[in-house]
């Protein structure tokens, strides 16, 4: 069998699949970039790239900066850039005071900033750290996901992928590449722990609160938690009955916000 898939008892199998995807992406696309948000998933993704490409990250890393990320996020970005010799590109987005709902804030600001940078740099593949278990809409994504000229996600007609082979749509403006789709939140923490991946300190509890999912300062809400280390977080996730992104305003089902955002090109 080409694509042996064992149960997720360790991160080795998950890692093998991600590395295969990253190397395929490098072989199939001319001009790749990786999207880094400051959160645990995209930081783990950077560490995986170093495993896939022998300690190098052979493409630029984009940070969409709306100027209101947490200071800890900026500090981590600069630390990683230096430590891992990363070529960081910043996509500046301007935040407007009256636009703070999911659609106009994440949609208009972050997506527009990324579009501008993409027009200039002409990337044909964008690597991102989304996972299926984060959200019902993200769970429907492909590993190589084409976006057309208007950045539309044609979710009603997604290409076939199987046995570790991925379709490429030659008419696409670019493809999104999702090497972490099959990872769960808890797997990411196991990987970070085992590999000592630098972590945004906002994930660890202070005064009874921590962030479980990180966006910008505007739309992210802390959860009640006493978990002040990675093993604590892993324990906490073992019993939780609440979803990871419950503190993220742009996900709420009532408005199908995530579906609309993704169709429009959101990450």
């Amino acid at each position: 069998m080409i694509h042996p898939k064992d149960m997720y008892t360790s991160t080795d199998t998950l890692k093998a699949e991600s590395i295969l995807i990253l190397r395929e992406a490098k072989a199939k696309f001319q001009n790749l970039a990786l999207l880094w948000s400051g959160g645990k998933d995209s930081t783990a993704l950077l560490a995986l790239c170093r495993e896939a490409f022998f300690n190098r990250i052979p493409f630029p890393v984009i940070h969409i900066d709306n100027g209101i990320d947490f200071p800890e996020t900026y500090a981590l970005r600069d630390e990683l850039a230096k430590k891992w010799n990363i070529n960081v590109l910043t996509a500046k987005s301007i935040i407007k005071e009256d636009k703070i709902s999911g659609i106009s804030c994440c949609g208009a600001n972050k997506t527009e900033a990324l579009k501008k940078l993409m027009e200039k740099e002409k990337f044909d593949g964008l690597i991102m750290g989304i996972r299926r278990d984060e959200h019902g809409i993200r769970a429907k994504e492909r590993v190589f996901s084409p976006r057309n000229k208007n950045w539309k996600w044609d979710y009603k007609n997604q290409p076939m992928e199987t046995w570790g082979y991925f379709s490429i749509d030659e008419r696409a403006d670019h493809h999104r590449i999702h090497p972490l789709l099959h990872w769960r939140e808890i797997d990411i923490w196991h990987y970070i722990h085992e590999n000592k991946v630098p972590t945004n300190p906002l994930y660890f509890a202070q005064n009874g609160e921590r962030f479980r999912s990180l966006g910008c300062t505007r739309c992210t809400v802390a959860i009640r938690s006493e978990a002040s280390s990675i093993p604590d977080i892993i324990d906490e996730l073992g019993d939780t009955r609440l979803s990871e992104r419950m503190g993220r305003a742009q996900d709420k089902e009532a408005e199908s916000v995530m579906e609309r955002l993704r169709v429009l090109g959101y990450m």
Binding site: A16, N55, R241
Partner: protein, 350 residues
């Protein structure tokens, strides 16, 4: 299932006339909920008997077979859901044939909506007899057939109080017996597909067996000998590595190795330009197709006409020989339009 996600769905339904359905947890597109059908594959993790299972939900309709294949080709076992009022449909049979083609050996057939036939035993036993007959025709000699009422949870993980006549296992119980820890197959043969080469270090994926330092391997297609001197999994140096590890290697005789080569020991690779294979197509192929196997590719031609959406045996002529282990995919331009398995008996091993 996260409590807040269930609550979100209930809130979303509050304004409409629809009542809560479990399907909405997986059918997250608005259109899927409005049309009450699954359009695309998705996954969800469930916990059962202290272990985690990743469930892959796939659509049933013929036109959506590409989405079904995308999901089902990753599965270890399959649960085929049948509506007790409809019985076995052409769609059920198509799915069974495709599951067989994909190499899924273990099948559960869940006969659902038993509440709508008032939990009557006879309705179920009549259908079960037909299911056994049809399944055997497809090549499944043993299938588990379980009467359930999924909406109420009868025989899903909790034994039904309405169907006390059924003494067999629940769906959950069968799933637990299916999941055994995979034994690492000791394989004398080795096959490693090469994905990338950088600074004389070759990087690839182990498809079969185990590789050790000082191993001598043969490159396909050029037939050169290489000796492994340094071996890494990810960034860590190791002495041995086995399936499915992503490996990097350096050593003697590697200067001609490039992406698409397969490094082998033993006889696990076909190297051919003319093959008989079982394939499933989701589109009728045009003249310009190519075959991809293990990071290698060749232009190809199909002999004869073929039908879509079901396994067919065909002959494929490749423009150049490429190493194939067992499975391959068919591309038109860069889009995957089919998948195939080489027919073992019709080919000599290299």
């Amino acid at each position: 299932m996260p409590e807040d996600r269930i609550k979100d769905i209930q809130n979303a339904l509050a304004g409409s006339k629809k009542k809560f359905e479990w399907a909405y947890l997986l059918d997250s597109f608005r259109q899927e909920r409005e049309r009450e059908m699954t359009l695309d594959t998705t996954r969800a993790i469930i916990r059962l008997g202290g272990r985690s299972y990743e469930c892959i939900d796939v659509p049933g309709h013929k036109e959506l077979i590409k989405n079904m294949l995308t999901g089902a080709s990753e599965a270890r076992f399959a649960i085929v859901v049948i509506d007790i009022r409809e019985g076995i449909t052409p769609q059920t049979l198509r799915h069974l044939k495709i599951a067989k083609f994909l190499g899924i050996e273990k099948i559960i057939i869940a006969v659902n909506k038993c509440d709508l036939t008032k939990y009557v035993e006879n309705e179920f036993t009549k259908l079960r007899k037909k299911i056994f007959e049809k399944a055997e025709l497809v090549g499944y000699r043993t299938v588990h057939v379980i009467p359930i009422a999924a909406f109420f949870g009868d025989n899903v993980t909790i034994r039904s109080k309405k169907m006390t006549w059924y003494s067999g296992p629940t769906l959950g119980e069968v799933m637990t017996t299916f999941l055994v820890t995979p034994t690492v197959r000791t394989h004398k043969d080795v096959a490693i597909g090469i994905q990338d080469v950088c600074n004389r270090i070759i990087m690839g994926k182990i498809f079969i067996g185990q590789v050790k330092i000082h191993d001598t391997l043969t490159t396909v297609p050029r037939g050169e000998k290489i000796i492994v001197q340094k071996l890494w999994v990810g960034k860590s140096t190791v002495n041995t590595a086995s399936v499915p590890a992503p490996v990097s290697m350096s050593g003697n005789g590697m200067k001609n190795v490039r992406r698409g080569d397969v490094l082998v020991k033993g006889h696990s690779v076909y190297f051919t330009n003319n093959m008989k294979a079982t394939c499933v197509f989701i589109k009728s192929p045009s003249k310009k197709i190519s075959i991809d196997a293990n990071f290698n590719t060749s232009k190809a031609k199909i002999v004869g006409a073929l039908k879509r959406f079901k396994p067919v045996v065909i002959e494929i002529i490749l423009q150049k020989k490429i190493p194939i282990l067992d499975t391959f995919i068919i591309r038109q331009n860069s889009e995957i339009i089919g998948m195939g398995r080489i027919l073992r008996e019709s080919h000599m091993h290299r």
